[in-house]
Symmetry: C2
Subunit: 247 residues, 2 copies
């Protein structure tokens, strides 16, 4: 069986930012929700994995915003797996307006970890056996090590965050979207008020937990591109690296 | 014309906290959204008021949680104005399960401020003229000065928050729900992990803005009740006072 997930979301006030546009964290939450529902249909939901002592971890996520919807609009989120390998499963997303206009798309890479050892393991057989929908046109696979990981730019400290209760999900670790909110809130005021994100590319490196103190820093790559880093404040362990492109 | 607003919300993953229950901030966001839609029907939405140079401000909100819904459940939020006075308009909410079970209810008090002077003014005529639905049974009106405002308990500092971009709404001030998330995140870990809120009673005292530094403090009133205070860190100006009751 193959499944393509389609969910409709009516944009509510709190889905939108102070400019009235759909916020990136709200959109990512919707995409995450659709991915979870699609995984349930495939029998590879969070609960299905938990019975095998394993869990999902997002490793890569790249979102491209073509056009921002606003308050009161209805959007459709479409998602499906595109490929399965020994260690990784790939998933694409499309975000469509009522009239079919492509508002955004995204590609992502997921791995499976052992709940006991908290380390990556090969995808279990029941996930490897999954058939992807036959008629899809996958976006290019994301590389596991994009070039910005090794850019020797001067990062400047942008502040710290202590992980609060409402940033923890049912896996008891920080949900993937919370990081994006934190790093975007440290961008300069003018960027947030007068510009918009064209693309954001994320590399998740390790999980973090309730009450962890995270250190946020960023670097200016070009007049339109920023690099972001989130690490454990105490140990310096990398949690997330990202590049954002703005227009 | 009278209008009773009913909206249906399917609980998504990010509406729920780490225990799997609907989170209080997510519920309050839904209630706020329904209130906005109901105001639109009455011709007293945010945009309607803006054309008169005025805006809504929430003064009081009391939420009682009877039973918590969980991920995947559908809830109905019902809201309507219950009474209009010279300065205040009152609004009630009911939150219902599919089978009609009352999961939560809330009462609230709203005032109107002049956008130019940022001070309270009497409700304009077009709001005073509003007719409330005839068949409703209003909850008791909230007093403007509940007893906990003057309790001389020792408050202890719980931390500071700097207002970030995603806590600002389209009125360019902090949205009402953000405060509740901040004050709840400062409650002791055991309360968050093992207990649940039975009731939360809020008194909004002044607005706050992007980059404001807010000081959070709380006091233990009984083994089941906490008091909360949010004030401007620099000036000590009160922003929000609250009481929460837990079970």
């Amino acid at each position: 069986m193959t499944f393509i997930q389609t969910d409709t979301f009516l944009l509510r006030g709190y889905d939108c930012d102070a400019t009235g546009r759909l916020s990136i964290p709200a959109l990512m939450n919707m995409m995450q929700e659709s991915a979870n529902r699609n995984a349930l249909d495939y029998g590879i939901g969070i609960a299905d994995l938990a019975t095998h002592g394993v869990g999902w971890m997002l490793m890569r996520f790249r979102l491209r915003m073509h056009q921002y919807p606003t308050y009161g609009q209805t959007i459709r989120v479409v998602t499906y797996p595109t490929s399965v390998e020994k260690y990784f499963i790939y998933r694409d997303f499309q975000v469509l307006a009522d009239d079919g206009t492509l508002l955004a798309d995204a590609s992502s890479t997921w791995l499976v970890f052992s709940i006991e050892s908290r380390t990556m393991i090969p995808l279990p057989g029941f996930i490897r056996a999954l058939h992807v929908p036959p008629s899809i046109q996958p976006l290019p696979k994301l590389t596991s090590k994009p070039d910005f990981l090794t850019h020797a730019l001067p990062y400047t400290t942008a502040g710290q965050v202590e992980v609060g209760w409402f940033s923890i999900d049912q896996n008891q670790h920080v949900n993937n979207v919370a990081y994006v909110q934190w790093l975007l809130e440290k961008v300069g005021d003018d960027w947030l008020r007068t510009r918009e994100i064209a693309e954001i590319d994320l590399v998740y490196r390790s999980e973090s937990h309730w009450h962890d103190r995270l250190q946020l820093s960023h670097a200016t790559e070009t007049t339109d591109q920023l690099l972001h880093r989130i690490e454990q404040a105490e140990t310096g362990k990398e949690v997330l690296l990202a590049r954002s492109a703005w227009r």
